[in-house]
């Protein structure tokens, strides 16, 4: 991100040291509030359980142990099955990657049609599609239950892939269409005169100028689908669940002993992919959202 200029009007908003200190203190407080949960989870993943029970969940670590992570990954027992969350982690990967790719690609094609090949009623279709952006997921639970049943995709990752592709289309279409609207129509006209058709223009001209918005869409879809758990809880169970759903089982089921170290490790494992995505793609995300298309 580019360095933003310091706001200053009327001789400067931020006057002197005291003012500057207040700003830093205020922002640091919020940064602390946002980062606290991450710290707690990371710390507890590597603390010894007795120490956690003795000093409380939120405390500065006094012990160190590497046992929790492997346990959460491979051996932790939920309702009698003792194989940790690794299957659920793979389920999530197997669900999120195809769903992200498919919904992003379809969104790009939709956006291309709705901005560059408009037809009678295309604006209405676009308006209806964007309605989906504001539609809470639970509204479609029952229809999905029916459809998955009819397709024999209940309790399978494939069912979740279908759901997330469709549920995500509103967002991906909105993102891509609004990006392509700023691509000059003359480019398309020139290509038509050059003898290129619908798909050749899409693959040779439109897609190559799309990376900024595709990165935004992929990050949005990946983190959204990975973190989603409502559909996972409702439509899958046990070994078939994505990791978000299985973490709930870990927290609620089992014995009376709260294994905070293993639970923290499970949460950490479940949070790693979105964290990595933000870590590597975050700056492109902001850039892609704020930058227009190529002139």
């Amino acid at each position: 991100m580019a360095e933003a200029p310091t706001l200053s009007y009327d001789g400067g908003v931020v006057r002197g040291f005291a003012g500057r200190f207040a700003v830093y203190a205020f922002l640091s407080l919020f940064a602390f509030i946002y980062l606290m949960p991450l710290f707690v989870v990371v710390a507890n993943s590597f603390r010894e359980l007795p120490e956690i029970t003795r000093n409380g969940l939120i405390a500065f670590p006094e012990s160190f142990s590497l046992e929790a992570c492997p346990k959460a990954w491979l051996h932790h027992c939920v309702s009698g099955t003792c194989e940790g969350v690794h299957r659920n982690f793979y389920n999530s990967l197997f669900m999120t990657i195809p769903a992200t790719i498919i919904s992003t690609l379809l969104g790009a094609i939709n956006g291309y049609v709705l901005s560059k090949w408009r037809f009678r009623g295309s604006d209405t279709i676009f308006a209806v599609m964007t309605l989906g952006v504001f539609m809470p997921g639970q509204i479609s639970l029952l229809p999905w239950a029916y459809i998955l049943g009819a397709l024999h995709l209940s309790n399978s990752v494939y069912g979740l892939i279908v759901i997330h592709c469709v549920q995500g289309l509103s967002f991906t279409t909105l993102f891509c269409r609004n990006y392509y609207v700023n691509v000059p129509d003359d480019l398309i006209k020139a290509a038509r005169i050059d003898g290129a058709g619908f798909w050749r223009i899409f693959f040779k001209i439109v897609l190559p100028i799309s990376p900024p918005i595709l990165i935004v869409t992929v990050i949005w879809q990946f983190t959204g689908i990975w973190n989603e758990y409502l559909f996972g809880v409702v439509f899958t169970s046990g070994r078939g669940q994505p990791i978000t759903a299985s973490l709930i089982g870990m927290a609620s089921g089992g014995t009376n002993v709260r294994v905070y170290d293993v639970m923290s490790a499970g949460v950490l494992i479940g949070a790693i992919p979105p964290l990595l995505i933000y870590f590597f793609g975050g700056k492109y995300f902001v850039r892609g959202l704020t930058q227009g298309a190529i002139k």
Partner: protein, 374 residues
């Protein structure tokens, strides 16, 4: 080599009629300029010739082949856009070859064609660069290269110079003219700049509100504009319109105009108008360059010179010439003078009007009243 024929062409967007019956034809190798103010329909007309807009009514023929329903790629045309419309992720070479690739032209033939066009436009050193690394003028060259490489029947230009700065625009204008002289392709060129139209075209179509006002050679459009719109649009500063009355002076037709501060002058026309208006009122059209500081030597050389006096209000030297705003009757007129002996502010100028080059318009219809051939 190709001709373009357009007959009774109409275009409606919903209930709005943007083209109201266009008739136009370009002979082989001709350079036609479509000129007019924004919103006159010239770009729509070009887009219809290209096949990018559908035809509501009428017909477009390229080389006598009706192309109304033919796709842009099958019309054998090439187009240069105002925004250049270069594909941003491709190099200049890829931009130029994209069309040939779409058509499946063999690689060797493509290389040959790129070489030929790059040499013609002197863009060889730029071929490996992307549009973002090119200046405005260079992009324009590459865009022309992309059009030229096709060797099409028809060249279409949509305000190709409007995005360039003033100096480059003049240079590129000359380049385009040279190019046309060398390649000799039939060309349709849309511009809102009347100077571009005058300098480039073999014939100019002046458009206004969806119809063609006049379609003729540049010097005819300039010196015998068919109506007051064309007269006012072509030429800068614009033609002066002076209300006048047609009278007879010594048995010859003359225009009587009001002078500043009362009084009137009778200016012998030096030609015979084909008809008279019912009440004798006309509009006298005089181009700024047909106003002079009157003297007897000049009169000897220009027998059509009529004399009157006009106070000078504002003087604007531009270097090569000096513009002066003069008061005449109730209104102001603009003259273009040689800097030697140019009017001075506040001076009561002995003004010579070259009536041999003046035009008469009917004030009711704004249409030119033609002359009886001498």
């Amino acid at each position: 080599m190709a001709t373009l024929t357009i007959r009774s062409l109409r275009k409606r967007f919903g209930s709005v009629e943007v083209l109201k019956g266009i008739d136009l034809e370009a002979r082989t190798g001709e350079f036609i300029a479509l000129v007019g103010p924004s919103g006159c329909g010239k770009s729509t007309l070009l887009a219809m010739i290209a096949g990018l807009e559908s035809v509501t009514e009428g017909e477009i023929r390229i080389d006598d082949r009706l192309v109304n329903a033919v796709a842009p790629k099958d019309r054998d045309i090439a187009m240069v856009f105002q925004s250049y419309a270069l594909y941003p992720t491709m190099t200049a070479r890829q931009n130029i070859t994209f069309g040939m690739e779409s058509r499946g032209v063999p690689k060797a033939e493509q290389d040959e064609a790129v070489k030929r066009v790059a040499a013609l436009l002197q863009i060889e050193p730029l071929l490996h660069r992307k549009p973002g690394q090119l200046s405005g003028g260079q992009r324009q060259r590459v865009a022309m290269g992309r059009a030229l490489v096709r060797d099409p029947k028809l060249f279409l230009f949509d305000e190709p110079l409007s995005n360039l700065d003033a100096k480059l625009r003049v240079d590129m204008r000359t380049e385009i003219k040279k190019l046309h002289q060398r390649v000799g392709k039939t060309t349709v060129y849309v511009t809102h700049d009347q100077i571009e139209a005058m300098t480039l075209a073999t014939r100019i179509a002046v458009m206004h509100k969806g119809s063609i006002q006049q379609f003729d050679e540049p010097h005819v459009v300039y010196s015998r504009p068919s109506n007051m719109f064309v007269a006012g649009f072509m030429g800068s500063p614009s033609m002066n319109f002076i209300p006048a009355e047609l009278v007879d002076a010594d048995g010859r037709p003359a225009a009587r105009i009001a002078l500043h501060g009362g009084g009137a002058a009778t200016l012998p026309l030096g030609f015979v108008p084909e008809r008279r208006t019912a009440d004798g009122r006309v509009v006298l059209g005089v181009r700024p360059e047909h106003l002079f500081r009157y003297d007897d030597d000049l009169k000897a050389r220009k027998p059509g010179l009529a004399r009157l006096e006009a106070p000078v209000d504002v003087v604007e030297p531009t270097g090569a010439e000096t513009m002066a705003v003069l008061k005449l009757g109730e209104r102001e007129i603009v003259g273009r003078f040689d800097p030697d002996g140019a009017p001075r502010t506040g001076e009561k100028l002995p003004l010579g009007i070259d009536m041999a080059n003046a035009c008469l318009f009917d004030p009711a219809t704004e249409i030119l009243i033609p002359r009886v051939a001498a």
